[in-house]
Symmetry: C2
Subunit: 787 residues, 2 copies
């Protein structure tokens, strides 16, 4: 398939590259005079010079060469810009190829559009300096480094005809998530998935330091990349002519190899894991920019990272340097007098959606197909009486997810990701529908490993998150299951995805994508066996800082509510859903129809557990959110019902945490009137909450009855112990809740005082018993529910 690339082709690639470089530098500097039709003057220069030049010529180089092979071989390529701060490069290229002007008709491909392209860059009211959601063709911002390769693999899964070209900066390559991502080739199937072409760009420097991978001997770098399982090819140098020839040659070889690997795999040749090719591009930082400025080297050093000439507006020497730099690209050869790219350049532009700025894969909503979700009632548990039976909520969810996999098998557009915790989180029914995808070696004793699969398990939360983000943004569906405590590992990735979605929602041309769904199990109240390091419910707090339009948090208390919540999360769009659920045997509280109704409301009174006969004025409200708090509130209610039968208790359960906020703050928020109707205007409210108690205060501090709200939750006490002891350690056990009620409801009399003492005695008995026997009090273990 390979063929020698002609000199004419390479001249065209070079012209295209020069055009992109010109347009990139123009964005950083020029307010006006975009075609340099006049001598460059200070008033043509932006007052604030912002942007990153250093990485940009290398990105332009790769983009131009990819255009050649896309065009020559009719490839579908998605471009992932690891050094996403090189925004000018992607803006330049998408404008050159026409994608940008089609997306933004107010930035046409002529002099006026070029002026606008330049002016808007890093300009107030304009476009950001990074490869942000505003940039057509992008699924990856790259401002926070580390996730490019994981995103690329996520995009390639189940996209057999897609090649994802992923530029990895040598700075980014030092990060943990990127370092782990190289091994993603142990999962990608050459038959049913697309491929990722990593292009490690060694331009030698980060902001102010050399990059590690650029400063190890060639043999060490080569061993490293071979150790990662790749077959690296090197394109190294600084002479453009030689570099063009070499890059074209290597790119042809690489595409040949990829197509051979895919052909063999798809012809059913059961080969070993392929050794995918990759490219190492070693080129100067700030290539083709000013070589020296004020007597110090700039091109090829860290000094070209951002703006190589900083004093252009005030320093005539810098202005002259800038003009000669820009004119060095010979813009008059590249753009006609109207400012449009000359027609000969268009010979390098791929057709329509093959242009990397126009690929529908980068606007995944265009490709998104609704999931077929089987009726959750098939997986519901029968609930004759609340609490009469128990079940494992996540196990039921696993069966639902299994059936989702079956129902969407043909579309191949749903995946489950997890860091080696899918079975631990009791979702293992999914293995009935799918293997775990695995391209590394296997042994006879292994179970559920296959070359293809809907389940991806790798002990890296970063990879799980990155894969899923890439998968969703290219128009598919998925869920990430994780231990609750360790989801904090991806706090920062969550931030970036939430920021991406916030902007995405505002761009009409970006079509809605499936939501990012987290299932957090093995949570703080059920990590008693692993101890303190595994006990942390703070991800919810972290999530709540992001835009209300983007984030949702659900705390289903039992199996049927979990199924209901999962159903709606899988159908939702453009959001991030956090679901925290139990995996252990949990009492079944609601039948499926009640569960559907309750989850639709998001929060409501459980009359069957209450003793206020629907009174608008109960003596106390016992509220709960989360499976463990719900159980304790209901147990406390039972104790109170038995010992203080006259007490009018209202039990409120909250599934959708966002309902706690005012409706002015969140689309799911509850109006004050409704909130007052649930929580009363003046009665004591004891709220048992899954996580850190102050979050409930933060959500409700403007509510009428906030002064009477008393919240119990996790207060960072824990160790290896029993589940009930965890509750006692954090003052959220049933005995403590009864005491809280007695302390807050006035005038309960001597009977209540005796009950209070009894509860204190029970807590003391618990402490003594558990240290002696290593398990909970018999009455806790043998508790039965009577409603």
């Amino acid at each position: 398939m390979s063929q020698a690339v002609g000199q004419a082709d390479l001249s065209l690639v070079d012209a295209y590259w020069r055009a992109a470089n010109y347009l990139s530098a123009g964005q950083i500097y020029l307010l006006d005079n975009p075609l340099l039709t006049q001598p460059l003057a200070p008033e043509h220069i932006k007052p604030r010079l912002l942007g990153h030049w250093g990485t940009t010529p290398g990105l332009n180089f790769v983009y131009a060469h990819l255009n050649r092979v896309i065009k020559a071989r009719e490839l579908d390529v998605l471009f992932v810009t690891g050094p996403g701060h090189g925004g000018p490069a992607l803006l330049a290229n998408t404008w050159l190829e026409g994608s940008y002007s089609e997306t933004y008709p107010d930035v046409p491909r002529d002099a006026s559009g070029m002026r606008r392209l330049f002016r808007q860059f890093s300009f107030p009211g304009g476009v950001p300096s990074h490869v942000a959601p505003e940039v057509p063709g992008s699924i990856h911002e790259g401002g926070e480094l580390g996730y490019s390769l994981a995103h690329a693999f996520g995009a390639a899964f189940d996209n057999p005809d897609l090649l994802v070209a992923c530029v990895v900066g040598d700075g980014e390559a030092e990060t943990g998530p990127l370092a782990a991502s190289w091994h993603a080739n142990k999962f990608l199937d050459p038959a049913s998935d697309g491929t990722v072409l990593p292009i490690l760009h060694l331009n030698g420097y980060k902001i102010a330091n050399p990059a590690v991978l650029a400063r190890i001997p060639h043999e060490e770098l080569d061993a490293l990349l071979r150790g990662y399982g790749y077959d690296p090819r090197y394109v190294e140098g600084e002479d453009p002519t030689a570099m063009h020839a070499r890059m074209a040659e290597v790119l042809d070889q690489v595409i040949d190899d990829i197509q051979r690997i895919q052909h063999e795999a798809r012809a059913g040749q059961d080969g070993a894991r392929p050794r995918w090719p990759m490219i190492v591009l070693r080129s100067p930082k700030g290539w083709t920019g000013p070589a020296t400025v004020d007597g110090v080297a700039v091109e090829g050093t860290w000094r070209s990272h951002q703006v190589p000439l900083a004093g252009v507006r005030d320093n005539p020497d810098h202005l002259r340097l800038l003009e000669s730099w820009l004119r060095g690209y010979r813009p008059e050869e590249l753009f006609d007098e109207r400012g449009a790219p000359r027609p000969e350049l268009s010979a390098l532009v791929p057709d329509g959606p093959r242009r990397m700025g126009s690929t529908p894969h980068a606007n995944g909503g265009l490709l998104l197909r609704d999931l077929h979700i089987p009726d959750i009632r098939a997986h519901a548990v029968e609930v004759a009486k609340p609490g009469a039976t128990t079940s494992e909520p996540t196990r039921a969810l696993g069966r639902l997810l299994r059936d989702v996999m079956v129902a969407n098998a043909d579309a191949r557009n749903f995946r489950l990701f997890g860091p080696d915790e899918t079975a631990s989180n009791r979702l293992d029914a999914v293995y009935e529908a799918s293997d775990k995808q695995w391209q590394a070696e296997t042994l006879p004793v292994d179970e559920h490993l296959g070359r293809q699969g809907r389940v991806v398990e790798v002990l890296s939360e970063h990879l799980c998150q990155g894969f899923l983000e890439g998968y969703l943004l290219t128009g598919r569906h998925g869920l990430f299951n994780c231990y609750e405590a360790f989801i904090h590992i991806v706090d920062s990735m969550f931030n970036q995805h939430a920021k991406w979605l916030k902007t995405h929602q505002k761009l009409v041309w970006r079509r809605p994508v499936a939501s990012l769904n987290y299932l957090l199990s093995s949570h703080v109240w059920r990590q008693d066996h692993n101890g303190f390091s595994h006990q942390d419910p703070g991800f919810i707090d972290h999530v709540m800082n992001k835009k209300a339009e983007v984030v949702r948090v659900y705390l289903p208390p039992d199996t049927n509510t979990l199924l209901t919540v999962a159903d709606s999360c899988l159908r939702s769009r453009d959001a991030i859903n956090v679901v925290v659920a139990a995996k252990n045997e949990t009492p079944d509280w609601l039948g499926i129809e009640d569960a559907v109704l309750h989850c639709a409301r998001g929060a409501g009174i459980w009359e069957w557990a209450s003793t206020d006969d629907g009174d608008v004025e109960p003596d106390v409200v016992l509220a709960c959110a989360g499976d463990a708090p719900t159980m304790e509130v209901l147990a406390a209610t039972a104790l109170l019902r038995e010992h203080l039968p006259g007490l009018r208790i209202r039990v409120v359960n909250v599934v959708d945490l966002m309902r706690m906020q005012p409706d002015t703050e969140h689309p799911h928020g509850m109006p004050d009137r409704e909130f007052d109707a649930l929580f009363t205007r003046d009665r004591p409210v004891i709220f048992a909450y899954h996580g850190y108690p102050w979050l409930i205060h933060r959500l409700t501090y403007r509510r009428t009855n906030h002064a009477n709200l008393h919240v119990r939750g996790y207060k960072e006490e824990g160790t290896t112990t029993t589940p009930f002891d965890m509750l006692v350690l954090n003052d959220m056990d049933r005995y403590r809740l009864v005491i809280d009620v007695i302390d807050r409801v006035p005038g309960l009399g001597p009977r209540a005082a005796r009950l209070r003492q009894h509860m204190q005695d029970q807590r003391a008995r618990h402490h003594a018993w558990i240290r002696e026997h290593g398990e909970d009090l018999p009455e806790v273990r043998g508790w039965t529910w009577q409603f």
Copy 2:
């Protein structure tokens, strides 16, 4: 130096290993009958079986072999347990060697102590199942995987005589932070630092899946490790006799090589970066445990990850299997009738503090020396009048840190870590005192790189955090400087360190260590050039969830307050200090003496900015926390002073955010009376806060005047724009604050109404101007302060 290891030595190592394995299994299972003096019966078995057997025999194997070389060569070794869930191993070994009983005299080295050792493990009121702070000899929990190697390198820096043996699990090896950590050898200096011996433990499986590195061909693994810069040696097999011989041989070679490398480097031979040795230990998971249970393979598979025999109390077959498993270690040969380890075993125990459970390096407070901190007054800026001059706060801090480096040069116990942002954060004066440590290749154009250095820069927040944690826990001092937004990358590492410190504080034998200091700069209000992805102040919220005894947050508004805060952070112990500070030119508000006083109070009235003449009843309180909010509040005050001269304004500045909490919640918390005196009981309070506004509500919801508190802060609006536009986008600009005051102070009359309109006009002018000119309004740029 190497010598063949005699058969007698290996028999001793094997006996020691069997003893440790016996003690490990005993901890998981036995409530009583520790020496199996009676036939094993159900009542001897714990009611809840918790613990991780799978990794434990491998850890015991390494520990026993290390004992041999420590003893033979008088080495100082610190053991870092990557698979920290293998708690039984470290508990067993430290008990065997006597360290445990010296630390905990109530667990003596006899049958009663053994019974207690077994019983307390994973038992309520006992000890956690992991290598938690309670375990002598540990600086690393290992519950959340990924940080062992970074901790190990942190411990080795500036400890030239220390060898840190770091077991890396093959599960952990899949994580991003661990994958990045291998490259830490590009920083470690063989002359002035100690060394790290990574022991990659391939036992093949994680919880439920094979491990990637155990399932790639040998050549690929070997290339990978050589690519990381190591010289790997392999110890592979399952026959204990052969494995002992091989491990002893390899360990001798490895120590020889390390000593040769160090000797050459220290003799001044200017060699290239050394190729440090490392060990790959491939042994069965659950080695020596039950081979098969109920007909399925357990030893050598994922099924031995936790408790290989789950039904011991109820299933007589399992009980029998357990008994034969335990007796297979021949405990009667290992322990005397009193239950003490037999004297012949002690021949393998290193002397005193050379025992890995007794090394002072794992109880760093024992080695901690106070930092010499030069008088901050030497770096203070002169402040003739508030706001008359400007300075760059972090630049002044850089000079202080430089002098700290100089003052402690001999002790070599202070380091600065940063992800390539030290110069960007304007701390670059430190390079006058120290190079950046760098062992990779250099070029003539490079600046400030040296084989040794007090500054470590690597583009991985995970590595910076991990290095610093390891450095601090071994008794040194340091600071981590980072862009504010990207510190979220280490949220989860912060969690684990905070949890470690909480427990550490309660253990009297653990001596206080230096606090972990974060300097967060290039913060949300000053990342206008990089845009939305770089704008996130939420780390403070994250930090606030941890125990009050551990966390502190400071928001110094100018240079002299930053110096003051830094001084106290560097002196503090056992805490985590978060300091958020500006790097840009910032008005100087307080002279150094005022700054010292103000920071000691943590929050106070700025009389010179107030117009209430010290009145106890001002019309409004304008409060601020953070440099940008302080500037806006003072600008708003100036506008109000000019236009509404009769308005009595009190300006309150908060440096120590923890003062906002009640004194019942945090040791720095303010009593209500004091809070009321600052914020009044009933006047409107407009609070401009650096981060997400709801945090201030969360901290103050119980305060008298909370209903009148109105907070402005970052509400997740941002892009590439100007600093002032960032404030306008988030409604925290001076004009908006003036409007807030007018809207909340009743009865201000028509003049106020006109001012309000003027402020709205200014905001409209801003919007138009900035989009036209790309820079801020002239009156904002040319603002001058008059107090």
